[in-house]
Amino acid sequence: MSAQQLAAYTTSTGEAFQFWVLGTVAVVGALSTVFMRKAVHSALSLAGTMIVLAVFYLANGAYFLGIVQIVVYTGAIMMLFLFVVMLVGVTAADSLKETIKGQRWLALLSGLGFGILLFAGIGNASLKEFDGTGQANANGNVEGLASLIFTKYVFAFEITGALLITAAVGAMVLTHRERTERAKTQRELAEQRVREGRHVPPLPAPGVYARHNAVDIAGLLPDGTPSELTVSKTLRERGQIRDVSTEALNDLRALEQRAEERLERTEIRPATFKRTEEASK
């Protein structure tokens, strides 16, 4: 057989080495995509797998795809994922505990079976001849693809174009929130409050200390516990309220100490105190 063919179905040891190393990486990435508890981590590991795949494309002579894989997939789509993850809540980690009875076992079972079957299928499929992409890529991989896309697959191409447009519009429609009813005026809101009878007065303000404008610090109730009402809904849902009840008490205690220290001295110099008062004017 010619070297050409030989090159076709056996590969250089370099490629073999690359395959075994990166392949493991890819599999690990895939597995961690599945088993990471936090969506962010899954997304990142998936990105890793994709990059590995991009390399494999290049190795298989699909230069254009390789680049596209990196630019479009890893660059765009995965970023999109991350955006959404952030939108939905980075911190929101879902438990891997299964709710549907027997679901997990069935899933693993069928997955295993499917995998085995695939392997068997590939195994006894006679895939010996690899006449590589040599002459296919003779005058450039991109040109080759282009000539195919704009001749043979032109209709499919156009249709996918249309599909993309539709998808874009669809995404906008889905995510765009139409204001169905007129925004309530202050007056109406007030009336509603009175009608509902809860919180007739305005909500209590968050406990703000001079040292920073902390909307995320709940105001404290007389017994020193933080009041949920004082912080905005979003923060409450994100669970990002900073509970400062204890440190507030500590500060108070510290204050008292200092006051006592003061008290020992202030008795003899009220004038200065007054003067300072005037000075402050």
């Binding site: 549907i100 679901q103 069935l106 899933a107 069928s110 997955g111 079976g113 499917f114 079957l117 299928g121």
Partner: protein
């Protein structure tokens, strides 16, 4: 002249339509419209009668064909009228008595706010009855037949707010329906036998049919007659029918409708003549009813019910006569006519009495009324003499002839039937005398009257608004009521004589019904003598019982027979137990079966499928992921399948 026949029916029919559709605005004149139209019909009848008399005997049949009614292949029913001597007789009786009773009702129903409707129904009845007797084929006759049934239903139940009246009406209609089944089966048999059911062809060819078929037809006709004419075993409705206003009882349940059965038999003479067995059955029915009615009539304290019993028995006479064949037909009709006079008269008299007595119907609350209502007394008395067959009065001639004819039947049957007829005459004399005595003689039991006795329910609503315990002030009825009574009384006095002198009636009817002199084992004189003896005996016994000693105001327990007779010889109770109760149970069980069995099977299968699908439904738990699992598993199976395919 044929053209006039339709008018006979049209006049009262128009009246009925106008009065029933007209609404309240006719309330003031309604009764006069009704009376006028029935009288008009009577006048037309007279004109036609004159016309018939003008012709010679064999051309006295007028046919008027109006239109083809139901044409389906060989089944051809036409609306055709036939006016011959027989129907002419009926026409005159119906319209004549009818008009009188219309007149009477004007007074009698004066206080009823639904009088217009009442007259509408009366006219409807007249129309239907005329249709019945004028029809030229059995199917058209059937229409009239049911029409009078409807009218009687409406009139019996005229005071519908009384459950008793409504029930009585329903009962009457239902019992009649049973008879109608007979009539319709008879018509079907006629159709299958002769291919037609028009009087002409059927009666002409009656002889050529097989006797079995003819007997069947005749028996079915008899069943119909029993229903309509209240003959045993379908007599039970007549007594209750007295719930209706008295004029109704007089017109429908004494003079005309109940005699339709006799008309049917006489009309189908040819068929009966060819079916001797059927004839025998007819005579037996007649004889039995004659005694049955008479016995019942003896025991009733309700004056109308007593008269109803007597009606039953008198019609029994007619049926008996009709069953005797050509010997009896003429006399059956003659007795029918005379009976029409005096029985109507008696009922009107009874009505007049009730009118004067706050609508009290219990004879035990009457007594000594002759001085208070002389006209009623006289007319009633004449009717009484007529019905018991007092020599010279109409009842005498007609009934006597029937008894003769019964003996003339010959053989043991002849003796039995004749004996029954004689006995009947005696009992008739007894109970009529009883009625007479209890009502018009004896001390005045209505003074300081006690509470009304339970078994005599008030027949009229007037009782309610006149107050229960108001002591009645017996008084003569107004002219408008007495005049018809007088006319009828005249008829019941002279009718019989007029008909019998020179056998006028015989010659008049003979062409239609045919006539043959039977050879009686007894001479006419003997029979008459025997009848007289029975009559005297009956009167004497009645006098002994009710004339001499005072009548107790509350009915005594009485002998076994009396009690039985009070309850219509338990025949009604039998019906109730067997038919009503049985029927109720049957329907109830059927309803149950329909619900559980017939429906249950279907619902069962339905439930089965429901359960199955309920189980299958568990798979669809709505979780996308479990659907995905099944999908994935399916995919795996597909791969496996393909691999296997490649393997083999």
């Amino acid at each position: 002249m044929e053209k006039l026949i339709a008018l006979l029916i049209a006049a009262p029919l128009l009246g009925a339509a106008v009065l029933l559709v007209g609404g309240r605005r006719l309330d003031r004149v309604g009764h006069w419209i009704g009376t006028l139209l029935s009288t008009a019909s009577f006048v037309i009848g007279l004109v036609l009668f004159a016309g018939l008399l003008g012709r010679n005997a064999e051309h006295r049949t007028l046919i008027q064909h109006l239109w083809t009614w139901v044409p389906v292949e060989s089944f051809q029913a036409d609306v055709t009228f036939r006016l011959d001597q027989l129907s002419m007789t009926f026409v005159l009786l119906i319209t004549g008595v009818g008009s009188l009773i219309h007149l009477y009702s004007v007074g009698y129903m004066a206080h009823d706010e639904r009088r217009r409707r009442f007259f509408g129904y009366l006219n409807l009845f007249l129309a239907a009855m005329l249709l019945l007797v004028l029809a030229d084929n059995y199917l058209l006759l059937y229409v009239g037949w049911e029409g009078v049934g409807l009218a009687s239903y409406l009139l019996i139940g005229f005071w519908q707010h009384k459950p008793s009246a409504a029930t009585a009406a329903k009962k009457a209609f239902l019992v009649n329906r049973v008879g109608d089944v007979g009539l319709s089966i008879a018509i079907m048999l006629l159709f299958t036998t002769f291919g037609t059911f028009a009087f002409g062809p059927v009666l002409d060819h009656a002889g050529s049919a097989s006797e079995g078929k003819l007997t069947a037809i005749a028996l079915m006709l008899l069943l119909a007659a029993c229903g309509k004419s209240a003959q045993v075993p379908l007599q039970s409705w007549l007594g209750d029918a007295m719930e209706g206003p008295t004029p109704v009882s007089a017109l429908i349940h004494a003079a005309t409708m109940v005699t339709a059965g006799v008309y049917l038999i006489v009309r189908s003479a040819a068929v009966f003549n060819a079916a001797p067995d059927a004839q025998l059955v007819v005579t037996v029915v007649g004889a039995v009813t004659l005694l049955f009615g008479a016995i019942v009539g003896c025991a009733k304290d309700d004056i109308k019910k007593a008269l109803a019993g007597s009606t039953m028995s008198q019609i029994g006479y007619m049926v008996l006569a009709a069953g005797l064949g050509p010997v009896g037909y003429v006399f059956a009709i003659m007795h029918l006519v005379t009976h029409g006079f005096f029985k109507a008269g008696l009922f009107l008299g009874a009505g007049s009495v009730m009118h004067g007595m706050n609508d009290e119907v219990d004879m035990r609350k009457y007594g000594g009324l002759r001085t208070y209502m002389p006209v009623t007394f006289v007319t009633f008395g004449l009717g009484y003499l007529a019905i018991i067959g007092f020599p010279g009065l109409s009842g005498f001639f007609s009934k006597d002839k029937i008894i003769e004819a019964a003996f003339a039947k010959g053989g043991t049957e002849g003796w039995i039937l004749g004996g029954a007829a004689l006995l009947g005459a005696a009992i008739t004399a007894f109970y009529m005398t009883r009625v007479m005595l209890m009502t018009f003689f004896g001390e005045e039991r209505w003074r300081s009257r006690p509470t009304r006795s339970p078994e005599a329910p008030s027949a009229e609503p007037a009782a309610e608004h006149q107050g229960e315990h108001a002591e009645p002030h017996p008084h003569e009825s107004p002219k408008v009521m007495t005049i018809p009574m007088i006319v009828l009384a005249v008829g019941s006095v002279f009718g019989g004589a007029f008909f019998s002198v020179g056998d006028r009636f015989l010659h008049w009817l003979e062409p239609v019904t045919g006539h043959s002199e039977g050879d009686s084992p007894l001479s006419a004189a003997t029979v008459t003598g025997a009848t007289m003896v029975c009559l005297v005996a009956g009167v004497a016994i009645a006098w002994a019982q009710y004339g001499r000693k005072p009548v107790p105001a509350v009915a005594p327990r009485g002998s076994l027979l009396t009690r039985a007779a009070r309850r219509d010889l338990y025949q009604d109770d039998l019906n109730h137990v067997v038919l009503v109760r049985g029927g109720e149970h049957l329907t109830r069980s059927l309803v149950y079966v329909d619900h559980t069995l017939v429906d249950g099977v279907v619902n069962g299968t339905a439930a089965g499928f429901g359960g199955l699908s309920g189980r299958l439904r568990r798979l669809q738990n709505g979780f996308a992921r479990s659907y995905a699992v099944s999908m994935f598993g399916g995919a795996a199976l597909l791969v496996a399948a393909t691999l296997l395919m490649r393997a083999v």
